[in-house]
């Protein structure tokens, strides 16, 4: 038998971006539109029992809710894979957030300007309880920006250092641009290696 210390395949690298936001804001749509595999999730049909827990607002046409992990995969290069993890939306799943965020590149907080308050808990989490760099992204439902981004920034009380952008969660290239904003924001907060540090590798 060949030695297990000499694998046939090269070592792969994986990275992760967390997609957060309130219930029904389009996290699953966002992951699905760019993932090369069908998003893996444990989504269950909502039952009458959970309707009292997961409030279904009139006007939000949503029949399922994410009850556990919800993620997709994007191959960036032959040896680099990017995973996208949607956070469970309901507050009762918050203990999972720390686990999902560990080792992540950054987070994209999706917001719906028709219901900005739904984004408050996620923004609050990344501001107060996490060191993870995050970007807030208004999901353009029906492709329309209903309110100017500056108004959304004010309403969310976002600090100037937090980028605010918009995307159409159904459009892969639009989602890619939003993810690019996350990576660039993290880069701006990461120390660029010096020549000496690189030589030491």
């Amino acid at each position: 038998m060949a030695s297990a210390s000499l694998p046939d395949a090269p070592l792969l690298t994986s990275a992760k971006i967390v997609i957060a936001g309130g219930f029904g804001v389009g996290k699953t749509t966002c992951v699905a539109s760019i993932s090369e595999i069908p998003p893996i999730n444990t989504e269950a049909w909502m039952t009458a029992a959970s309707e009292t827990v997961d409030r279904m607002d009139p006007g939000i046409d949503k029949k399922t809710t994410t009850v556990a992990m919800d993620f997709g995969r994007l191959t960036i290069g032959p040896d680099l894979v990017l995973y996208l993890f949607g956070t469970p939306g309901q507050p009762r799943f918050w203990p999972m957030w720390d686990d999902l965020c560990r080792g992540a590149v950054g987070a994209l907080v999706l917001a719906d300007t028709r219901n900005l308050a739904a984004a408050f808990p996620a923004v609050n989490y990344f501001e107060q309880d996490s060191d993870l760099p995050f970007v807030v992204c208004v999901n353009l439902f029906d492709g329309v920006l209903h309110h100017p981004l500056e108004e959304a920034r004010e309403a969310l009380a976002l600090p100037a250092g937090v980028p605010l952008t918009a995307c159409d969660a159904r459009d892969p290239s639009s989602v890619a641009r939003a993810l690019l904003t996350v990576v660039e924001h993290t880069m701006s907060r990461t120390v660029r290696p010096t020549a000496g540090a690189l030589a030491g590798r």
């Binding site: 993890f85 560990r102 080792g103």
Partner: protein
Amino acid sequence: MTYWKVRPYVLTAGRTRTRQPLLVHTLVSVPHYDAVFASALLPEARTLYEHARRAARSVAELSAVCGMSLGVTRVVVDDLAATDRLLIHTDHHNVDFRLLERLRDGLRKLA
């Protein structure tokens, strides 16, 4: 979906921690598939081993395809990795600049 024949804590012998940190996106693969080794595994561990054999999979993917909770999956992966039958691709716990550059360049092509 796999149905439990035993309680999860039987499979993990009550353990919840692993020797090394296994993140949800940590990649796992089988460097050299061994059918004899596979046949001696417990059904849950064997299912995981067979899935990781085909391609490098993340801990979260293995959890989903094997129908095991994340916690149980981590312990099973950790056990198999301790025997060198499973390769854990080293994780970037501190995201480095080079990785970010590669991600940025890759996403630009899709944007």
